[in-house]
Amino acid sequence: MLFTILAILTVAGAVAAMSFRNLVHSVLALTLAFAGLAMVYLQLGAQFIGFAQILVYIGAVAILIVFAILLTRDAGTTSKSALNASASNSSGWGGGVVAVAVFAAMAWAFHASAASQRALPAQPEATMQQIGNALMLQFALPLEVIGLLLTAALIGAVTIAMHDRQETR
């Protein structure tokens, strides 16, 4: 029951995010979808992932997108041609058809697969202690790689977005 409500909330947020004219409204709807997804994680027993989802996606990614919107001056002014332009050329309908086809194929695969018929197993344990141990022992190398990747992304993003002083003068 709770899962159904959360699923409807998430999907509604996602649909709204992709269909609103105003970009800022899109981002706010997107945060609704992220929040719904975080609740789904909590309900599935993954506490750490649920809170990390809120912290990273709502606290960082959504804010980052908002900043990008304001810096590219699309806030307030609704992107008039966003839907019209895409509807006039055939790629708009084509994209929708592709998405529906992908969904149909995946739904059919889930329906046909034997895995979905299995009985519900007991709630698995994922305490913070276990996750921490796994991160520090078994998954230490991936953790380091992620750290390197994030540092590279940080430097890269700053370098790309930095104002070229010589050029603008």
Binding site: A17, L37, L83, L120, L135
Partner: protein, 103 residues
Amino acid sequence: MSSLSSCLLLSALLFSIGLAGALVRRNAILVLIGIELMLNAANLNFIAFWRFGPNPEALTGVLFTVFSIGVAAAEAAVGLALIISLYRHVKTTNLDQVDSMRG
């Protein structure tokens, strides 16, 4: 109610919405939002298979999601930096109008 198939169905729905958005909308930022939704759908699959899979003690699904969230954050930062840099050059974020290779 929240069995494996309903989780997968939700994830498939999210993925398709993200895909449709990324293909249909012409604003670069909205395309990025669509890609984020698709990544989130993949994360939900990892968690669902961890929760209902045969070997939840290994925590593989949870840890993969942790790394995936980290990669998604990096991707968003670089992607938005690219969009801002693009906007500086061509003064638009509409992808249809960015059709010149001259910088």
